[in-house]
């Protein structure tokens, strides 16, 4: 028993920053959404408008979920539950893999298994610790909803529903750790399971049956195959039924059983799927720093593009719906105007908001390229490569260049997805042009992030990841959400996203974009010069 206590305490200590950050982010998102929704959709007629719009548009339901009437809390659940479910799922799969497969891969598990803790206690400790985290999550979620003034029963059901998603994906992470040889592969499989589960319920919701009054939608049978779907089936604040969560418990039990069976039959460090071996010689394309950077970066670039495409589909399919609906004078229009800083028509405003988000995705992709360069320099083969006849400029230029190409690809994918979606729903041609212009307008801000983070890396390499992601989060908060929570205008001006050109037909003002592109060139040039002058810092 003491062994178990030591191991659980060790896990709590190791995660003492990241798990609280996850829990606080999820709670803050929920609380923020609840307050924002009360603020903008406080009136039942406004909510009715919103729900009617959603139930008429499969794209909204694909992204969000199925509406269940016009109650304030029910609308909140409809807008955030599936999305929070993904976050909870990711928190749990990462937790499981971090304490199971990653430990075995690094060899630390051998050290622990050689003590009286043996082989069975560490996974058991991980399971108990994961359950504890999900219990805290349930309490935090219920607490936030109560704080926002919601009904107690529904609040508790929501907490339990999200925790149930968490427990299922905790065990999914456990099985992935048994199956896969590396933490990277196990995380890939488990994250794939989370996203697949979101996708399944998205399809189920999009093809749901709309009720006669158009205020609620019953998702199709596919939702029963998704752990996130089970959580939605609890219908918090309308039906408050916990029965679907029995399915979650059963699934978790089955996954634990599978993991135990595999574990009993394998060596510590071994896995069901062996590492696939690869090419013994390199393809001709892997011949220089650029080829290497592309080889290392394309998988994540594809992932960023998929994210941009999802938002693009959302924006393209909805742009028209927004324009043709009777939303013109509703709070949604106000909301959009506040988010988008203008735009001549409602459609332009809406597309501009969506592409601001795609711009954030592109900036994230840019930052990730620079963070990869830093990791190469400090932990992997950067030193080996720089000891060959490759100049500093050539090496850094490869990663920065790949970053710039990735940014263009992400924006182009977002625009293409938006155009295709708009064509599918039969949007007018000017909205297609809007998509392309809006995507192009995001390029300067994303390139500015690329160049500024590269500059940070060239001066204080250690701070690349922290400062890079921190700048992005701050810019998103100030530039996009600042106005919603009532921050003064000048704080919003600090964010590059506030200066991206807003497509307004022929009157589009490009000056902000031109200035940012110029600044990006300057920062990028400075990064090259400063990197030439400093030592290569490996740890």
């Amino acid at each position: 028993m003491t062994t178990l206590a030591i191991l659980i305490r060790h896990r709590i200590r190791r995660d003492r920053i990241q798990i609280p950050v996850w829990l606080a982010s999820i709670a803050a998102l929920l609380l923020f959404s609840a307050l924002a929704l009360q603020d903008t959709f406080g009136d039942v007629t406004e909510r009715t408008l919103l729900v009617r719009l959603a139930s008429a548009n499969p794209a909204i339901m694909f992204i969000r979920g199925v509406p269940q009437g016009t109650g304030a809390a029910a609308v909140l659940i409809f807008t955030v539950l599936a999305f929070l479910g993904v976050l909870v799922g990711l928190m749990n799969t990462f937790l499981a893999v971090r304490h199971l497969r990653a430990e075995e891969e690094s060899g630390r598990a051998d050290l622990v298994a050689s003590t009286p803790a043996a082989r069975a206690f560490p996974p058991l400790a991980t399971l108990l610790y994961g359950l504890l985290v999900n219990a805290v999550l349930a309490v935090a979620v219920a607490g936030c909803l109560l704080l926002a003034g919601q009904d107690p029963a529904g609040s508790v059901v929501t907490g339990l529903a999200l925790a149930a998603i968490g427990v299922v994906f905790l065990t999914v992470g456990g099985v992935a750790s048994e199956l896969m040889p590396s933490a990277r592969a196990a995380n890939g499989l488990a994250v794939g399971a989370v996203l697949f589960s979101y996708l399944l319920r998205g399809i189920a919701d999009a093809f749901g049956t709309v009720s006669d009054d158009g205020l609620s939608v019953e998702s199709s049978w596919l939702a029963w195959l998704s752990p996130i779907g089970w959580a939605q089936k609890t219908r918090p604040f309308t039906e408050d039924t916990l029965a679907p969560l029995l399915l979650s418990l059963a699934a978790a039990g089955v996954f634990v059983g599978v993991a135990v069976l595999i574990m009993a039959r394998r060596d510590t460090g071994a896995s069901v799927l062996a590492t696939n071996s690869g090419r013994t010689t390199a393809l001709p394309t892997l011949a220089g720093p650029f080829g290497l950077a592309w080889r290392l970066q394309w998988p994540s670039t594809v992932a960023w593009c998929v994210g941009a495409a999802a938002f693009g589909v959302f924006g393209g399919s909805l742009g028209t719906a927004v324009a043709t609906s009777d939303l013109g004078n509703s709070p949604i229009a106000d909301q959009l105007a506040r988010l988008s800083r203008g735009g001549d028509t409602l459609t332009e405003a809406f597309i501009s908001v969506i592409f601001t988000i795609i711009g954030v995705v592109a900036a994230g992709c840019a930052i990730q390229a620079i963070v990869r360069m830093r990791q190469e320099e400090s932990h992997v083969g950067g030193e080996l490569v720089l000891a060959t006849p490759v100049s500093r400029d050539h090496w850094a230029g490869s990663y920065i260049g790949i970053g710039a190409i990735a940014v263009v690809l992400v924006l182009a994918t977002g625009a293409t997805a938006s155009v295709l979606a708009a064509l599918t729903v039969g949007a007018p041609e000017e909205s297609i042009e809007d998509s392309v212009v809006a995507a192009f307008a995001q390029l300067p801000a994303a390139l500015l992030f690329l160049a500024v983070v590269a500059l940070v890396w060239s001066v204080v390499p250690r701070l690349t990841a922290g400062l890079g992601w921190g700048l992005l989060v701050l810019s998103v908060f100030l530039g996009i959400f600042g106005a919603l929570v009532g921050l003064p205008d000048w704080t919003a001006e600090l964010s590059p996203f506030s200066h991206s050109p807003v497509p307004s037909g022929a009157d589009t003002d490009w000056s902000g974009g031109i200035v940012m592109a110029g600044l990006a060139l300057l920062a990028g040039g400075a990064a090259f010069i400063l990197f030439r002058r400093r030592d290569v810092e490996s740890t």
Binding site: T275, G278, R295, H379, L384
Partner: protein
């Protein structure tokens, strides 16, 4: 003989820490130069400066008559580098990493490269088809070694290159390195595996706290220390032994007596030993280990001697 590496009064400060504190180093063409020192003495810092990965705070350095900081690219065409504790790309196979590094260095003759790569892969018994993250320490080291040896270089900068290799593979490494040096290359071999340095190196520099404290051939260095002489006591009285000319530190240890003599004056001791008709005589020149330890911290030469004796006895015992 021309100079390949020349460093004078090299200093490298990281804030207040003095990684190098006036280092002088000369390596001439065609030699394997041993670079000895404990962890943190400044070996890796020196090699990173020689590669132009780090810039010296002050002092002058040339490698193959070039400035490594400003001429890194041109210089690197002639240099092969093997770091200690190689880190690989997790998603690239070992074979891909070898090809990538070799291509970056420049492959003049693809056919010759393929043959050379094949030979080295076999010699080091290396499986090039696995992903980077699955290799053990020794296998990661092999990737860098094969990449370094697969294309010709004028200068090999080797920073503890055999870390994690088994003794068999160490022998392969010694053989392959000797072969390229016999063909005219030069090598700077940083190591703390003394037997490796003893077998491979023509000259040795010992670094301590950022300075070279000793440099020369192994024979030169041996002259600076004492040789141990030991023999069976066998009826001899301690008094008979006290006045052997040139002897120091006499110890009677059970049935054996031992003392040390300056390596240069060893011949002066021998006539007396002959007169005493000592039996079971052993004369042991100082090992590199003793040379090394004599320059370091709290461990005196005496400790080294005792350690060596203990090791010898346990070998005999087995």
């Amino acid at each position: 003989m021309s100079t390949v590496i020349s460093a004078q009064d090299l200093r490298k400060y990281y804030g207040r820490t003095r990684a190098l504190d006036g280092l002088d180093l000369t390596v001439t063409t065609g030699e394997i130069h041993g670079f000895l020192g404990p962890n943190g003495a400044g070996k890796s810092t020196t090699i990173r400066i020689l590669l132009g990965l780090a810039r010296a705070t002050s002092g002058s350095v040339t490698v193959l008559d070039r400035n490594p900081w400003t001429d890194a690219v041109a210089l690197h065409r002639k240099i092969a580098y093997v770091p200690g504790g190689v880190a690989l790309w997790p998603t690239l196979t070992g074979g891909e990493a070898i090809d990538l590094l070799s291509r970056l260095r420049g492959i003049d003759d693809p056919v010759q490269y393929a043959a050379r790569r094949e030979h080295l892969t076999e010699a080091f018994q290396f499986d090039p088809s696995r992903k980077g993250h699955t290799y053990s320490t020794g296998n990661r080291q092999k990737v860098a070694l094969i990449a370094a040896l697969a294309t010709p270089a004028s200068l090999y900068l080797l920073d503890e290159p055999t870390a994690g290799l088994d003794p068999l593979m160490e022998a392969v490494f010694r053989r392959e390195l000797s072969a390229v040096v016999a063909d005219g290359a030069t090598a700077l071999l940083s190591s703390h595996i003394l037997s490796e340095v003893e077998q491979l190196c023509d000259r040795v520099s010992i670094i301590r706290a950022g300075r070279i404290v000793e440099t020369g051939t192994l024979a030169d260095l041996r002259h600076l220390t004492r040789t141990e002489v030991a023999f069976s006591l066998d009826g001899l009285a301690e008094a008979d032994l006290r006045d052997i000319p040139g002897s120091h530190d006499l110890v009677i240890d059970g049935p054996r007596a031992r003392f040390t003599a300056d390596s240069d004056e060893l011949v002066d001791v021998l006539p007396t030993l002959a007169q005493l008709r000592v039996r079971g005589l052993t004369v042991t020149p100082p090992s590199l280990e003793e040379l090394f330890l004599s320059h370091y911290g709290d461990l005196s030469t005496d400790v080294a001697r005792q350690t060596r004796r203990a090791a010898r006895h346990s070998r005999v015992g087995r």
